[in-house]
Amino acid sequence: MADAALFVTDLALGLLLGCVFAVIAHGLNLIWGVAKVVNVAHGEFIMLGAYGAYFFNVWFGFNPLLSVPIDAAIGLGVGVIFYFFFLFRELRGKESMGPQSEMVTLVATFGLALVLINLAQALWTGNNVGIPWSPGVVQIGSVQLPLGGLYVAITSVAIIGLSHVFLSKTYLGNAIRAYSQDIPATQLVGINPTSTAAIGTALGFCITMAGGALLTVWLPTGIYPAMGNLYAPISFVIVVLGGPGKMWGSLVGGLTLGVIIDVGQLFVGGSIALATAIGFLILIPVLLFRPEGILR
């Protein structure tokens, strides 16, 4: 009986955590879909989002939720800069990214990742920090859930839902979707490809950095310069699980991975590292049997 309660608790925690994972993966998915670039520095932008939330807490006493819109706004700016520095010259006037441009952007973003990690280490030391924020717990039946995690999960789903509405209901969103499918065709319906790609990339960074802020709620002492090394692979796995380019794929993939990690702990003696490894192992059968992702 106790085991069953534990299982339900971990399942619920996994779902809450999965929502946040979904956001950071959603950011990656957007950048991947729009810019056709696998952003190797993805984890470092999550790290920057997390540090953003940390410093807003230290300076202004903001809780992570309050930092989300600020991080998101910074992310928009960072995304535009990233686009014009790293992608514009490779994508300009091209119908798609050739192998050479892919190589260039891959190496460039890898370099960027190293620069960002080392810069963060130099500026903020390699020590772990965290945001002390615990708004309490809520008792639902036999399950106790942290309110912080609950708020963050709701925010996460809202962010993904809003981005979905933006992409399908607004003219800019439709342009971004069109651009991600066929670049030359977008020009012939009158869409400016450069500004569209810049906005789409910016949106991806906006969501990624907001995700970094949300994640801090789950990391009482887990903010450090190299934290991206864990969360970038998690994002990649989720994108592949859910299906690259699918709008709800990130949410489905995120929830799946969150549950696997939290429930998986129960079976491997409470080791999060092992449970995460199990989450990554799941990728192999998915790639073998459903390479297009869980979603149809």
Partner: protein
């Protein structure tokens, strides 16, 4: 004001290949100009030059007297000149309605309110007979349906001058008859101008008020359909010197 598109003495070289060598033509809103010529004569290149997909090496393209030949393609669409692809390029992960709606949102109309754009897209799809497929993914369309969607997208931009690259190719005789009738009807109703590049001679000769013939990137004839088909230079270009001599 009716818009006038003028192409004057335009050249396009790809390295040593002279794809277009000094072609001039004029199209007004409401007027259909046929553009014919043997394979590789530079017809599609000329359309790409007008649409801004390629930039001319030499010469000028103007819309109502304003130079547009250095403009990016999307800006030209925004001024009411839109082109179909020879091979249809729908946005495959979008429904037909969304495909046309983005054109309505960004082309000449710039209808930024998506609800209105989706309504307008539905209306345009009905014009080309795709209303029943409006909410189907465009990837599920047949080749001919994709061509109609491509045409709907151009109409959706609200273009006043259409550049149509082989939209009648590959149709059966009945389909061709229906397509020509539809095109004529739409052209009369909306009063757009068009440059029609076509291999299907019947389509060009029926639709076009004027026909321009190019060969090896140069204009060899221009006139009404009847004048052009009797021009010895044209017969020679299409059928060879012998045939041209044999024609009385």
């Amino acid at each position: 004001m009716t818009r006038v598109l003028e192409v004057s003495d335009v050249h396009k070289y790809f390295g040593g290949v002279r794809a277009v060598q000094g072609v001039s033509l004029t199209v007004r809103e409401g007027q259909v100009v046929g553009l014919i010529g043997p394979n590789g004569s530079g017809k599609s290149t000329l359309l790409n030059l007008i649409a801004g997909v390629e930039k001319p090496t030499k010469g000028a393209i103007t819309l109502d007297g304003q130079r547009i030949d250095r403009w990016p393609a999307h800006r030209i669409v925004g001024q009411g000149i839109a082109k179909t692809h020879q091979i249809p390029k729908p946005f495959l992960a979008m429904t037909c309605r969304e495909n046309v709606a983005v054109a309505v949102m960004f082309g000449n109309h710039k209808q930024r309110q998506s609800a209105k754009a989706f309504d307008e897209a539905g209306r345009v799809l009905a014009l080309v007979g795709l209303e029943r497929k409006a909410d189907m993914m465009s990837s599920n369309l047949t080749v001919q349906e994709r061509k109609r969607l491509e045409f709907a997208r151009v109409l959706g931009t609200g273009a006043r001058i259409l550049l149509l690259d082989e939209i009648f190719a590959g149709l059966s005789p009945e389909e061709l008859r229906a397509a020509i009738a539809l095109f004529t009807k739409l052209q009369r109703e909306t009063g757009f101008g068009a440059v029609v590049v076509e291999h299907v001679m019947r389509a060009v000769l029926t639709l076009s008020e004027r026909v321009v013939v190019i060969e090896e990137g140069m204009k060899i004839a221009e006139g009404t359909a009847n004048e052009v088909v009797e021009d010895p230079a044209v017969i020679e270009a299409y059928l060879g010197v012998e045939a041209a001599r044999a024609t009385p």
